[in-house]
């Protein structure tokens, strides 16, 4: 349709991933950004910054993703990532009970310290290791599905979901390995961000939208080094 050629309004959303080491934060990002998975992903040092667009029917959301290191030793890094973040993805490994405890700590810290109105999603990862496998919506996956049955699940859907509901969090079970539910998490977050808290649009597509809404953000990549913009090799 001719309409689809018109750029949609675009906004950026700062998102931070938090959670215990090795729960699969970087793998979720890798799946979302590159649609890829690595069996032996190395632990994140410090943090990593990535961006990815998410197309909604009426607007484009550009995620500015901060993937933090679960191993962080001095609990000093996270504060600088969740400051001003509009969304947080708190990840646990549903085969590892301690990781949910850690996730709850993060949720509490976010509720205490982050911007009021931050959208938080609780994500139980590694669903492929449970008997619901890639998650064909198998019900009644109890806590005690033994290892022998090929079900390594240690945290039931009910438990985590109940907690998420109490705290007003979005809730998903995912597999970064199979890709199950990964895009859904980000789309749900994009939809949950209140329109009013969206940052001013920017980028080339944004200038059209700016004809109507007033453009406030100043683009440093403008006149000064415009040529750098088109020179990406990928």
């Amino acid at each position: 349709m001719a309409d689809s050629n018109l750029p949609k309004p675009s906004s950026s959303v700062k998102l931070v991933l938090l959670g215990e080491a090795a729960v699969g934060k970087s793998s979720l990002v890798l799946r979302f950004v590159n649609n890829d998975f690595q069996e032996n992903k190395e632990p994140t040092i410090g943090a990593a910054f990535l961006t990815q667009k998410c197309n909604l029917p009426t607007r484009t959301i550009k995620f500015e993703i901060w993937d933090t290191a679960g191993q962080e030793r001095f609990a000093s890094l996270a504060p600088m990532y969740y400051r001003n973040a509009q969304a947080a993805l708190v990840v646990y490994d549903l085969t590892k009970p301690t990781s949910l405890i850690k996730a709850k700590h993060w949720v509490a810290e976010l509720q205490r310290q982050a911007s009021p109105g931050i959208v938080i999603a609780l994500v139980g990862n590694k669903l492929d290791l449970t008997s619901d496998g890639a998650g064909d919506a198998a019900d009644g996956s109890g806590e005690d599905g033994g290892e022998d049955s090929g079900d390594a699940r240690k945290i039931s859907t009910e438990e985590a979901k109940g907690y998420a509901e109490e705290e007003g969090l979005l809730f998903f079970e995912t597999s970064a390995k199979t890709g199950y539910n990964v895009t859904e998490v980000f789309t749900a977050i994009a939809n949950a961000i209140p329109e009013t808290s969206l940052k001013t649009a920017r980028g080339p597509g944004a200038s059209h939208a700016a004809g109507r809404t007033e453009e406030q953000r100043v683009n440093l990549n403008g006149p000064r080094d415009a040529e750098a913009k088109d020179s990406c090799a990928c």
Partner: protein, 500 residues
């Protein structure tokens, strides 16, 4: 994982103020082993930005310690209106360093070349105004916008036709002031106050002189001709660099605090280890011949002892120079008229600046202000307060009346910008910032950065000492390395650079 004390660090950076953070950014791809610590529980040091609760806590700390570093006489007030008007504490981000950045500042080119700019949102700084006190009791004080481009000089109704001509002549002069024949005009005045030149060579009246001096943001109002011309030229040539109608920009979410945080994030991505709430208790330089000579042993407040080749910190000892006094106030009104775009296609500004010339404010006892007062008004777009409110930062050089003058300037400002009822002040923070050393100095393996600058717009000389510190840490590796020039890390580029 290696423990803190088993590692021989290449550098320990103490403090996460702007300078140390920029150093962390500069070193973020160097492969050096970096331990970055801060005795505070927050990032940004003297450039931090606070929620209301954090500001209260900061005041308590500054007041409690005999050695509050460069800050003293801090206090806060919540007038009665605040009980209903003030929003949740975390809805605020009050900046200790609300400096704006001129478009031609080297800081911006460094943020672009280092790719750190991608994570900062910049907003336009709009108009400059002059405060005019009320002439008689029945009249309100007023704000007059300073025309600062040729177009504005043409269209302004604020000055007479004669004044317009001399202003135009002056603007043309400044744009080319370093060349003949202009050079010969001002050189005899180089070390004299700028007003002398304006008076004798441009025949400007006092009012017009005030307009010009205001554009220099000179804290004592006595800027020398040499410096004043450079600052005004910078202002004029910064106009339009990033879009029409503005010469300076402001980082959203608390000014330089945001630049410091973004720089630390880059440091962390590069592998630096971060510890908040950790200061240095004791510094011991390893002396004697042979291995380890010149290394530094640090005992940290966390109880750890670490070894490092270099230490970078800020020299926070107060100097004899005059510091600044500041009042930061949350106003329960959006102050809309201050944040309107003045030009077709210009972004809506989030900051405007009001100058109160020396003498325009007085104390109850009738003493007129000795120095100008500058007020930066920030709209809620800065993320520093909720929608419907604004934050104003007032600054003047410290003298015995400074706090009273600042508070009276605030009252005058509110009166000039309110229609009927005066806009309520919901929160007020006030403090003094002492002037520290203005030069870096090296003691063996220790690099002491100067104290933060008190100027109202970002002072590029700050960048020089950061670069010197970088060169010292890099040692022989500095030779081949380009300063602050990095590629985007994988996945971090703009989506329009390729990904879809």
């Amino acid at each position: 994982m290696e423990s803190l004390s088993d590692t021989l660090w290449d550098v320990v950076i103490s403090g996460t103020g702007l300078q140390q953070s920029l150093l962390a950014l500069a070193l973020s791809r160097s492969g050096k082993k970096i331990l970055h610590i801060d005795p505070n529980e927050f990032y940004g040091g003297p450039e931090a930005a606070f929620s209301i609760q954090e500001a209260d806590a900061w005041v308590a700390r500054v007041s409690a310690s005999s050695d509050g570093g460069i800050f003293k006489s801090a206090s806060f007030a919540r007038p009665e209106e605040a009980i209903t008007g003030l929003s949740a504490s975390r809805g605020y981000s009050l900046a200790l360093a609300p400096q704006f950045i001129h478009a031609r500042s080297a800081l911006l080119s460094q943020l672009v070349s280092s790719r750190a700019y991608r994570q900062v949102e910049f907003l336009a700084v709009g108009s400059f105004y002059i405060f005019k006190p009320s002439q008689d009791a029945g009249q309100k004080p007023s704000l007059t916008r300073i025309p600062s481009t040729r177009e504005e000089v043409f269209s302004t109704t604020a000055v007479s036709a004669k004044a317009k001509r001399s202003l135009m002549k002056f603007l043309k002069f400044v744009l080319d002031y370093e060349n003949s024949p202009h050079l010969e005009t001002w050189q005899p005045f180089a070390e004299a106050p700028l007003v002398d030149l304006l008076q004798s060579s441009f025949k400007m009246d006092t009012e017009l002189q005030t307009y010009i001096v205001t554009l220099t943001l000179s804290l004592d109002g006595k800027i020398r001709t040499k410096d004043g011309l450079a600052v005004i030229r910078r202002h004029l040539s910064s106009m339009g660099v990033y879009g029409p109608g503005f010469a300076a920009i402001y980082p959203k979410w608390g000014g330089l605090s945001e630049i410091a945080q973004v720089s630390c994030r880059a440091g962390a991505v590069g592998g630096a280890v971060y510890m908040l709430g950790t200061g240095i208790e004791e510094t011991e330089i390893v002396t004697g011949e042979g291995e380890g000579e010149g290394e530094i042993k640090l005992r940290l407040t966390s109880g750890d002892t670490v070894k490092t080749r270099k230490l970078v910190r800020v020299d926070e000892r107060p100097s004899g120079r005059v510091g600044i006094s500041r009042v930061t106030a949350v106003i329960g009104s959006p102050l809309k008229s201050l944040f309107e775009a003045t030009m077709e296609g210009a972004p809506r500004p989030a900051v405007s600046v009001i100058a109160f010339p020396a003498g325009s404010i007085s104390t109850v006892a009738g003493k007129a202000s000795e120095y100008p007062v500058y007020l930066s008004a920030h709209s809620s777009e800065t993320g520093e307060c909720p929608v419907g409110q604004s934050v104003v930062y007032l600054t003047t050089l410290t003298n015995p009346n400074a706090q009273e003058i600042l508070n009276n300037a605030l009252v005058g400002f509110i009166s000039a910008t309110s229609d009927a009822e005066p806009s309520p002040v919901l929160y007020r923070l006030q403090y003094e910032q002492l002037a520290g050393s203005d030069k870096s100095h090296i003691e063996g393996s220790v690099f002491n950065l100067p104290a933060p600058s008190a100027s109202l717009s970002f002072d590029d000389t700050t960048l020089e000492s950061v670069r010197e510190a970088w060169a010292m840490v890099m040692g022989d590796d500095a030779g081949g390395a380009e300063y602050m020039v990095f590629e985007d890390r994988e996945g971090a580029a703009e989506e329009d650079d390729g990904y879809e």
